[in-house]
Symmetry: C2
Amino acid sequence: LIELKNINKVYSMGRGSVKVHALKDISLTIDEGELVSIMGPSGSGKSTLMNILGCLDRPTSGEYRLDGQIVSKMSSDGLATVRNRTIGFVFQSFNLLARYSAVSNVEMPLVYAGVPPRRRNELALRALEMVGLSDRIDHKPAELSGGQQQRVAIARALVGSPKLILADEPTGNLDTASSQEVMRILCSLNEQGITVVLVTHEPEIASMTPRVLTLRDGMLVEDARRPKQ
Amino acid sequence: LIELKNINKVYSMGRGSVKVHALKDISLTIDEGELVSIMGPSGSGKSTLMNILGCLDRPTSGEYRLDGQIVSKMSSDGLATVRNRTIGFVFQSFNLLARYSAVSNVEMPLVYAGVPPRRRNELALRALEMVGLSDRIDHKPAELSGGQQQRVAIARALVGSPKLILADEPTGNLDTASSQEVMRILCSLNEQGITVVLVTHEPEIASMTPRVLTLRDGMLVEDARRPKQ
Ligand SMILES: Nc1ncnc2c1ncn2[C@@H]1O[C@H](COP(=O)(O)OP(=O)(O)OP(=O)(O)O)[C@@H](O)[C@H]1O
Ligand SMILES: Nc1ncnc2c1ncn2[C@@H]1O[C@H](COP(=O)(O)OP(=O)(O)OP(=O)(O)O)[C@@H](O)[C@H]1O
Ligand SMILES: [Mg+2]
Ligand SMILES: [Mg+2]
């Protein structure tokens, strides 16, 4: 499903005078239906890699094939369609729309996909129920706790039944019980065939996935597969 | 230093039709120089309690005495001075100013306190060095990773040598090594006499503090003191 070849990402700031080489020559393949964790120190390039996988940012060099298609050759419309139809993204900073309620935020991907209003609302309520927020559907982000906002972001990523779920630190603000609940949802979606890639800094979460990629200073330093427990 | 008596917080939404009773009859005392963790499920009221302790929000009822002064009786100017001189606050969502660099964000509390520019810059650089970000001082928040933004927020809370540090999930986005580093800083500040209250969902972090308060559904359900290890 995912094929990266020699991916580099350089951020340039201050009118180009300062450069940060955030990803260095990353090559990796992820097959459909895999469940993969990405770990590494703060600043090692995990979110940068997730943004490229999620077609939210372009690499500075290298090739990315998603489902056999070369992403860099696609038009921005084509990219937007792939993003909406194929990928569910949970951002590290949630990225919820401040002026909309939790249920409206979760309906957003379905609006883009042209799903009719009543069906959209039904699917969104079901996704919010899965993450335990049925009693907060009309709250705006500022009227929710940090972990509740995170769970709305997770519900929004799942609601369109995407082929690929990219979750950047999905349990960063959650207590142990809520964390376990989120991992249970992601693992059961994976058992239905959905490919899941998640970034985590918690070893307990990574130990629930059969493959762990480790980044350090922009490089892929380890790719460890564990026999299914 | 901190005395809460029968604190309640009710959020009302939708022009008052919906009410969320976020804190229910909380009474507690925290002495100067203590190191305390607050734990509890997502949505249990931890951030709401921290906002009241940090004089960023007023309780709906009950009394809060900080350093012997009744907070609810203070003018908003008096409150702002207390907040700036006495308290360093690390927000769960960082709350950095987007248009300013890391070092300018860390200097902000010193600007309010009237510290001269050169001294301000020196203290801010020292605080950023403590959290391991000397090579990112000119980056704006959007040019920093999640954990780096968190560490800038921690540096900003420490820079004015406050009497009380309130840190809401200070390690939520950090890998194990960076987390240990932040806890080392908070513990050493506490050994110098600074009172530290931190919210965490990670039991490993709470086990480093001699006292752990547990919230559940807006109530203080446990106040456990551990003999110093
Ligand atoms: N402005 C608001 N209006 C209405 N309800 C709110 C508001 N802010 C918070 N709440 C609700 O109050 C409850 C407590 O929120 P709070 O942010 O204190 O929880 P928390 O313990 O910090 O959770 P987390 O661990 O997820 O950060 C939550 O159920 C939340 O939905
Ligand atoms: N827009 C940008 N401009 C300049 N540098 C950037 C930008 N975004 C990120 N960086 C830098 O690139 C490096 C990688 O950032 P990235 O967000 O991918 O790290 P991360 O592994 O997700 O970290 P964390 O675990 O703290 O979230 C960091 O050192 C960061 O400072
Ligand atoms: Mg990140
Ligand atoms: Mg909170």
